[in-house]
Symmetry: C2
Subunit: 239 residues, 2 copies
């Protein structure tokens, strides 16, 4: 019997935002893998740390800082060989994923390599999308609203066109793009409908009116939530 590969979402930061199903897979794992920087700690492992059983084999999938595709493919190829061998030896392998594995996650690069030849499954996780709305006390969408998720690095013309044609929007990966995105929202008359949050559900979580954020200090894990009927929800919201 070959082992089972499971990508589990560990949620956005609060260790209690892991699901029972993910916990069960973690407890049954022979090998626990996680993405990590070239040097230093893995965020996914830090989030799941209170739940990681002692004495299990662990494997950090370390990604060099270089951003071209070629070295990334090499890293995933090597990791897939390592994980594939463990699965062939009958081991159950868990890969820890920040948030949800299939929502802007890197797990897909392992999945596409391993799922065709091995038993593989995904346990969904709490996304920063839902966690941020909860922390802000601000509903994302209701009824027949359109919701658009936009990575902040996209060019202005795309961001502008998509923001003009939606009811609610979430702008992800804000970080160093904050000033540009804020100016765009102001230009569209949407600044008062936008809420800023960084490090949702972590100890370092901060919620601020977008106008008050120091643009030079916005971390990569920051987000802007926006709803064009936002004023309807403001009374109970946290901002």
């Amino acid at each position: 019997m070959t082992g089972l590969l499971t990508g589990i979402g560990v949620g956005p930061g609060d260790p209690d935002l892991i699901t029972l199903k993910a916990l069960k897979r973690l407890q049954a794992a022979d090998l626990i893998c996680y993405p990590a920087p070239e040097d230093g700690d893995s965020l996914a492992r830090e989030i799941a740390a209170p739940h990681i059983p002692e004495g299990r084999a662990e494997y950090a999938i370390r990604m060099p800082m270089v951003t071209s595709r070629f070295p990334a493919a090499q890293v995933y190829d090597a990791a897939s060989l390592h994980i594939g061998a463990a699965l062939d030896a009958g081991q159950n392998v868990v890969v820890l994923c920040e948030g949800d594995p299939f929502f802007y996650g890197s797990f897909m690069y392992l999945y596409e390599r391993l799922a065709p030849k091995h038993r593989a499954e995904v346990v969904p996780g709490i996304s920063s999308l839902m966690a941020s709305a909860a922390a802000l006390g601000a509903p994302l969408v209701s009824r027949n609203d359109v919701l658009t998720v936009l990575p902040a690095p996209l060019p202005d013309d795309i961001l502008r066109a998509r923001l003009e044609n939606t009811d609610g929007a979430v702008i992800m990966k804000v970080g160093r793009h904050l000033e540009r995105v804020r100016a765009l929202l102001a230009d569209l008359g949407l600044l008062q409908d936008a809420r800023y949050i960084e490090h949702a559900t972590m100890d370092s979580q901060r919620c601020l009116p977008l106008a008050e954020v120091d643009a030079s200090a916005a971390p990569y894990f920051s987000m802007i939530l926006l709803h064009k009927r936002g004023e309807a929800f403001l009374e109970g919201s946290r901002l």
Copy 2:
């Protein structure tokens, strides 16, 4: 000391897709509330059933079948009075929500009434969005993709325009709109990139190629996931 109101996401159907944090709130609840039809069982309560402590007070928020806003507002007004009185009496109140409370959920109608005057929080849940992608083995989005969430009841021209201007899309609440949405996707040349799923993570879950679905039998809780680069992910997917 007044009580705490918590809206908890119970996830899409599999009882194990509840978070530890939601479980803790449930175990500490004095009053457990949930939406329900005028007659019959509450889906949110059914999902959470294995985790509901015995002997706690329960309160079903029953919604008449009439869809005009006025009776709905009356139902939420009455429920808020009931819940508000419990909070004032120092009770901790939990409201069970299918999926995530703030993602097309009705919890916002209680939250906007109660949060201004009471301690209130939201515990995010696994959305059917992420659960469906996991079940289909199909990543939602990666890198700088735009993701658009579209309720199927929207008119054709809006669906068409939004589908033309996105990388990935999720069409929710498909149900009786399936034939119309399928024709639209075919017309846009996107049929081969679309995957159908109903009752994600429940025992009754079904995943089908969209072309094979019997349109007359699609339930309300059915969804179409689409990615314009879908072929890149097909090898490891479940369809």
